[in-house]
């Protein structure tokens, strides 16, 4: 007696809990590995899993067992040349001696227990103790909005969705289909009738018979219903969730002559990290790139990072443009607006107060968060000091930081979006 059961549709992730338990237990190791990977990898390459190695001694489950040594008998298969009584030299080993050789073994070739974490897990560890600043809007918009969308035609539905054209077309087709045999017969009979009538001595009996049959056929043709239940078609509508949490991220960068490619690369890393972070928290993200020297311009990503300009620097031009774009395109309450500005700190002196004013009065009230990073190994410049005032007044929304090299980015990023800041904001 056997039963055959198809279990394939059962959950396949039965081991998921155990896997999570394992990851939790070795969280510290994994975090270190992730942290290393962030520093090692190019940031554009962030969205993939990572191989994690943990020394076996840490994951080992101890069991009581025999160690090396003592007097052992062992049986092997495949004897070719041995006879009983043969003596074989033991392979030379480092330790050599007996007894205390054990301790030496531990230091030797230690294997690692390696496994892979997925892209999502990788990012989770990366963002582990971060929380999105000022997530008020997001939490408010947790309930999903639905939009109805057409999804073809179905044979069942409510009368208000009835598609008259489709239904009638079906009815027409059905009438043609169901009547075609009868009509053919009618045609044949009529031809026969004509030929009979054309004969000199018409066979009246036959003509009579044909006419009765014709009448019968016509009657039955008429009985075909004009429209039937099976002809009815209804417009189908499905509900699709609309991404309710949308974010737009403004990348603002100085591209004047003083910004070298190295500085731009640093800035790029910062933007990418921010982008990844937002991507995890919003369903839909738009990017706007604004570059500026003395005047600002909205550009493509490629242009943003790789074209060179020369000339002076007026930062306010970029902020003005950002303000315009926000008010033009992203003013709805469904948008979460983030700004990230990177600069080497240079600005035309008289412009800095204006920047602070635009940012403080116009932009900050309507956006979620603005981050300013100054990439320079030198002293702070005028813009930094101008921004400090704004930052004081808008602690939860505005963060400033100085970055000197690539290794600074991640810590600074974490600092900008650290949980504490989020708590303050709430």
């Amino acid at each position: 007696m056997s039963y055959i059961v198809d279990r394939r549709l059962n959950g396949k992730n039965k081991s998921m809990v155990n896997r999570q338990r394992f990851l939790r237990r070795y969280k510290q190791h994994i975090k270190e590995a992730v942290s290393d990977a962030v520093n090692r990898r190019s940031i554009t390459d962030m969205e993939r899993g990572e191989q994690i190695s943990i020394p076996t001694r840490n994951t080992h489950e101890p069991m009581i067992s025999h160690g090396q040594g003592g007097k052992q008998h062992r049986v092997f298969p495949g004897n070719k040349q041995f006879s009983s009584g043969d003596l074989l030299d033991k392979p030379q080993k480092g330790g050599g001696g007996t007894g205390s050789g054990k301790a030496g073994n531990q230091g030797g070739g230690e294997d690692d227990f390696t496994f892979f974490i997925t892209k999502d897990e990788f990012l989770n560890y990366l963002f582990d103790d971060l929380a999105l600043p000022n997530m008020v809007k997001k939490t408010l918009s947790q309930t999903k909005e639905f939009k109805t969308r057409r999804a073809g035609f179905v044979s069942e539905g409510t009368p208000n969705n009835l598609s008259v054209v489709r239904s009638l077309r079906n009815a027409h087709a059905r009438r043609i289909g169901m009547g075609s045999g009868k009509r053919r017969r009618i045609r044949e009979l009529q031809e026969e009738l004509l030929s009979l009538q054309a004969e000199p001595v018409p066979d009246l009996l036959r003509i009579n018979a044909i006419e009765t049959e014709l009448a019968e056929l016509e009657r039955r043709l008429k009985m075909l219903p004009f429209i039937d239940q099976i002809d009815l078609r209804y417009r189908s509508q499905v509900k699709v969730p609309t991404p309710s949490s949308k974010a737009v991220m403004f990348c603002v960068m100085d591209v004047s002559g003083s910004m070298t490619q190295d500085v731009k690369d640093l800035a790029k890393r910062f933007y990418l990290l921010l982008y990844l972070f937002l991507e995890k928290n919003y369903e839909h993200i738009e990017l706007v790139f604004i570059r500026h020297h003395t005047s600002a311009k909205e550009v493509t990503e490629e242009e943003f990072f790789y074209s060179r300009e020369t000339g002076g620097t007026i930062v306010s031009s970029a902020l003005k443009l950002m303000n315009e774009i926000v008010r033009e395109r992203y003013l709805g309450s469904e948008w979460n607006i983030y700004g990230a500005q990177a600069s080497d700190g240079d600005n035309w002196d008289d412009d800095s107060p204006l920047c602070a004013k635009i940012l403080g009065d116009e932009l900050l009230p309507i956006i979620q968060h603005f981050a300013y990073i100054e990439i320079t190994p030198h002293e702070h410049q005028a813009l930094w000091y101008a921004y400090q005032g704004v930052a004081q007044a808008n602690k939860s929304k505005f963060a400033t930081a100085q970055i000197k090299g690539a290794s600074d980015i991640y810590p600074v990023f974490r600092e900008l979006f650290a949980k504490e800041r989020y708590k303050e904001a709430v």
């Binding site: 394992f22 101890p62 052992q72 298969p77 495949g78």
Partner: protein, 508 residues
């Protein structure tokens, strides 16, 4: 003539390599029919079709269909997943569980011939072994294991909710380290039943705690008792079942912790027969998939191509590399077991003079009866000792090496010749003896009136020391017991070393 007759009656069950549920049923019915002819007595089968991912899940829960959650299973899963995804390892074609009904997992990726092979191997081979072998009959209760595992899983989950995942994990870690010492080797365990467990749980918790409290009574005893109880040795006899001892006597464990010890112990007990019958179990199943499918082929129900695929897979399974080959990894239990059962059949049917001399009891007897007798009444150790024939030792070119750590050379002590047969055979048999494979450690004494320390005695076998893990295990033991642990190693009746946990001190 017979060839002609066969061609006439030839009616293939299928000609395609794809399987369908209808075909699975057909093959299962046919294989079941043939199995009856050979007298295979089985539990009902529950054949479950699963995907590769699910197979990995099943793998990492060490063959338990339902397991409590623990990080070590996650580790197992990650390791399996990695080697599978890198193609270092194929997955097993099947996993079979000693339960009633007998659950067998078949992978959906298998072809029809492979499914048939697996059905014959697992659902009739292993299944009849589980039902017939005396160890399984004595130590496991197939009808209640699934219920018990479910009970265990739920109990562990409840403990996690009440006492925290970390606490429970710590307990389980400690118990797992000792799980090979959670088995009664000589006493038949009471069959486990989930319903009973639940019912008696509360009752048991109370009684247990009372017993323990009694043992650790701190109130001054009355005068007349003092004299009789003074210097009483506890435990009176050395205890080999360490987990059982802890469950009953550890002074500081909470009732739920005792229950966890019990769960690990019970599950270890369930797997105990499997660890002792690997060669027999695999050999038996392999022998029967080979025999049953050949029988069907002879009836003209399988196509040549079908049989070729089965034989090719079968040949891989029973391949035994020589000791000096790079892919040698010990004696292949499938190869040894399969060939031994075949050899028994040969001895019964066509005994040589040598066989008559070595196996007077079975030479010329009914092979089927003899085979069933062997399956019912032996474990690996005794099976090898009883049935390994000189012919098979010659076929395998077996030889035995003596390795004395005080000598610079290995000695070939016996090979496959007249003088060597008996030595080779008993050495191989020893290799399968669990009591030789695992260090002999027993609970020796508890210092009841002093510092409550627990002393274990390790009796060295052939001068083999313990591996360095032992101290780690002592730490776990210390956690469970709550007071100092001493481990004394005796060699030829003399104390040679003494380790203590938490503090380490080695004497002599």
């Amino acid at each position: 003539m017979s060839e002609e007759k066969r061609t006439d009656t030839r009616q293939y069950l299928s000609t395609d390599s794809d399987w369908t549920f209808e075909l699975l049923e057909t093959y299962d019915r046919e294989i079941g029919r043939v199995a009856k002819i050979y007298g295979l007595d089985t539990y009902p089968n529950q054949i479950e079709i699963i995907s590769a991912e699910q197979m990995m899940d099943a793998y990492s829960s060490v063959g338990m269909p339902i397991g409590y959650n623990h990080w070590s299973y996650g580790k197992q899963f990650l390791a399996t997943q990695k080697s599978y995804q890198r193609g270092q390892m194929g997955l097993a074609y099947e996993i079979v569980i000693n339960s009633d009904p007998c659950i067998a997992y078949l992978m959906e990726e298998n072809t029809m011939p492979m499914q048939a092979l697996v059905i014959a191997h697992a659902c009739y081979g292993h299944n009849s072994f589980f039902k017939g072998n005396y160890l399984f009959q004595t130590w496991t209760d197939a009808s209640s294991i699934i219920d018990y595992l479910l009970f265990a899983k739920n109990y562990v989950r409840k403990c996690e909710e009440r006492y925290g995942t970390e606490e429970v994990e710590r307990m389980l870690d400690a118990c797992h380290a000792l799980q090979n010492y959670g088995v009664d080797r000589y006493r038949r365990p009471r069959p486990i039943s989930a319903a009973e467990e639940k019912l008696r749980q509360k009752e048991r918790e109370d009684i247990l705690q009372r017993q323990v409290n009694d043992l650790w009574r701190t109130l001054p005893t009355r005068k007349n008792e003092t004299t009789t109880n003074r210097r009483r040795k506890f435990p009176e006899e050395p205890q080999e079942n360490i987990l059982y001892f802890l469950e009953k006597n550890a002074p500081l464990l909470e009732p739920w912790q005792r229950e966890l010890v019990r769960i690990v112990r019970k599950i270890a007990q369930y797997f105990y027969p499997q660890r002792q019958t690997q060669v027999m179990n695999e050999g038996w199943a392999t022998f029967w998939h080979y025999t049953l499918l050949n029988h069907l082929y002879d009836e003209g129900k399988l196509t040549d191509g079908f049989m070729m695929e089965i034989l090719s897979s079968h040949t891989n399974v029973v391949f035994q590399p020589d000791y000096d080959k790079p892919y040698y990894s010990g004696i292949n239990p499938y190869a040894l077991g399969f060939n031994m059962f075949r050899d028994i059949k040969r001895i019964c049917e066509n005994p040589t003079d040598e066989d008559r001399e070595w196996f007077p009891d079975i030479a010329g007897k009914d092979w089927l009866e003899t085979l069933h007798f062997a399956m019912h009444n032996f474990k690996d150790e005794s099976f090898v000792q009883q049935f390994l024939s000189p012919k098979l030792m010659r076929d395998f070119h077996l030889f035995s090496i003596y390795d004395d750590d005080e000598k610079p050379q290995y000695k070939v002590e016996a090979i496959h010749n007249d003088e060597g047969y008996r030595t080779v055979r008993s050495m191989l048999s020893r290799q399968y003896d669990l009591s030789v494979r695992e260090p002999n450690i027993q609970i020796w004494s508890v210092d009841l009136e002093g510092d409550r320390s627990l002393t274990l005695r390790h009796t060295m076998q052939d001068g083999t020391p313990l591996s360095s893990d032992a101290y780690e295990v002592m730490k776990h033991l210390h956690f469970l017991w709550g007071f100092d642990i001493h481990l004394e190693t005796f060699k030829d009746g003399k104390l040679v070393s003494r380790q203590s946990c938490p503090s380490v001190s080695v004497t002599e």
